[in-house]
Amino acid sequence: MATTEVRPEAPATDAGYVTAPYRARWFRWFTTTDHKEIAKMYAVTAFFFLLVGGTLALLIRTQLAAPEQTLRLPGLEVTEQVYNEMFTIHATVMVFLFLTPMLAAFGNYFVPLQIGAADMAFPRVNAFSFWLVPAGGIVLFLSYFAGGPAAAGWTSYSPLAGPQFSPGNGVNLWIGALALLGMSSTLGAINFITTIFKLRAPGMTMLRMPIFCWNMLIQSVLILFSFPVVTAGLLLLWIDRNFGGAFFDPANGGNVILYQHIFWYFGHPEVYILILPLMGAISEIIPVFSRKPLFGYKAFVYATLAIGALGTAVWAHHMFTTGAIDVKFFAATSFLISVPTGVKMFNWTATMYKGKIQWSAAMLFAIGFLSMFLIGGITGIFNATGAVDSALHDTYFVVGHFHYVLVSAALFAMFAALFYWFPKMTGRMLNEKLGIWQVVVLFVGVNLTFFPQFALGLQGMPRRIATYSDGLGWGWLNMLSTFGSYLVSVAILLFIINFFWARKRGAIAGDNPWDAYTLEWATTSPPPYYNFDALPPIRTERPVFDANHPEIAASDEDYDHRVSSSTP
């Protein structure tokens, strides 16, 4: 174990404060390299795109609410082409412009704070990564003014997205947007990995690092190894479309299955990229509100590593019905990945067991995450079973499954993290009562939206259809689902109200309102420009808890013994 050199005689000093260079306020947002400001810009951008993608989702759900209808609004008639465009842009926005930047926001704000650093390793690269996100968004939405956006689904399978079936600029601009957003994520990943390896405060060994940072680290490694792959694959598609390439054109020696392999080699790790940081945030929240350390810290770290490693070997379970892959192998790896995921579930529930649970909104959101993630995970096992999947493939069962993980679970975890960290980011508390109302509305909303989709999928409703005939009897379940989606938007609206209310009227948070454990709570709320004027000695993974409660803090010897010589 690395030793912490503590100098008790060193006086507390405020000489550590370095003030930000003075700039006019509007100009500062364009030039800042401070990780906290960049994180806030990430968060606001991501939330904006959540509203854009959410509006598209509401339009899609409204179109599907009743059989054999064509939604007509002023200036918008949902034809089949428009419907295809809507679900393509909805998915692209939600994956690349909402969830990915939102996680980058949490990572940017809290990784440097949790490891006791002053900023990210490469602050200017960090700013560049951020500005690529709005750039990508603009390129994507430019396609609305350049002959209509992409309509080939977020997977853009060739030949559907090839020159023959998707003429026009839509897919070209979509590829350009994804290349920019991929570059943003890749540079961000390089930044996170370097920050975590090089800028940890003295005493912060890897196994004393907060679980959130571990998850960001492994997420970054996954990004580093998967985003360049899809960038290359999309450039091949771009060459096919614009320079007469034949990569995915079987008539000229190309191979369409190859595109699916390249896409899913990225696409499946991408779902772990989207969920790992949220699991990390949950692993910060549940221990704090259970008043216990995380149960099985080391097991959790190993489980995260195992998910990262196995996550790169499951991609072809998206391709079971192509008949071009070894179903048994990919079914087996997909089952295997549920083991480390189950370990994490066990960590979280065992942390709560016999804990002194405080029912704050953040904790309720976190428990909501556990239940939603459980449903999403178990239905994933159905899909991973080759024989079952050949019946469920491309039905609403799959839609329900991934929305349970990437909407229900992800929204609960995101709001848990926002309720937990908002006081640190702004200095004020969100309204707890309104938060608990939001938990209830969101819980009812997401389950009403996505549970009927399992039933619809089992009845054979295919995904990506603009409407369906009356005689199939899918009407009432779709109506239920649409009603649920409106409730979800009410829940999001409640958060927006809460946000603006708390900015002005929220209770003053103080440094550490939750009596939390990790280093971000050792500085003021919001933290000063260079984060810390002093750091507590770091002897465990809970340095702030040890400083607050010296009477029950683990001593160096206890902790070294616990971490290094016993299995968790």
């Binding site: 002053a118 090089k198 580093l224 400083a547 010296p550």
Partner: protein, 201 residues
């Protein structure tokens, strides 16, 4: 839930945040960037071999065998430039300005010669990017390598100006070291491109 007033007596602000062991931050960033580039080129090479494996005849019947003499010369030039790049790092590390600046200049010149040769040789090929899967992957691999070498030459030329102005020394050469890692990387990629496109055609 209220936090008690903290006893901050034994708190301190470390003098230096950066971990002093191992590689420096810029070099680590470069290595991670190269790792992502490895995945990028791995996808292109994977595509090449996947397409080749399913083809009944590779290269297609209407494609003549590519002459190999110029690519061999180009390989020799690029390998030499890796050696001179290493010389530049040795020079700056040992504060030997003459070796540093001249090796860097040689590297830039060799890089430019290589670029010109690579582009003109590719233009000599009797097929196009649109003439089937073989042409597509041939020109895609070459173009992305050309783009990467171009980026490297621009970066090295920028460093050369800095070197001529005396900006680097044995205590400040992280950019040079990073550039050298990148340059060796494009060199290794070329060896794969050369082997794949010319030797085992």
């Amino acid at each position: 839930m209220t936090a008690t007033a903290l006893d901050r007596e034994d708190w301190e602000l470390p003098d230096s945040f950066e971990d002093e062991g191992g590689m420096s931050m810029p070099v680590m960033g470069t290595v991670l960037f190269i790792a992502s580039e490895v995945m990028f080129f791995a996808t292109l090479f994977g595509t090449y071999y996947a397409l080749r494996a399913q083809a009944s005849q590779w290269p297609p019947a209407d494609v003549e065998e590519l002459p190999i003499f110029i690519p061999i010369v180009l390989t020799a030039i690029l390998l030499t430039s890796s050696v001179s790049m290493h010389g530049a790092v040795w020079g700056v590390r040992n504060n030997n300005r003459t070796v540093f600046v001249s090796s860097l200049a040689i590297t830039v010149v060799l890089g430019l010669v290589f670029l010109v040769g690579e582009v003109f040789d590719a233009l000599e090929a009797g097929f196009e990017i649109s003439s089937g899967a073989y042409g597509s992957i041939f020109f895609t691999l070459l173009s992305f390598h050309v783009l990467h070498v171009t980026g490297g030459v621009v970066f090295l030329a920028y460093l050369l100006f800095g070197a001529a102005a005396g900006r680097f020394s044995s205590r400040n050469y992280q950019q040079v070291e990073s550039a050298s890692y990148y340059w060796h990387f494009v060199d290794i990629v070329w060896i794969f491109v050369f082997t794949t496109l010319y030797i085992i055609q």
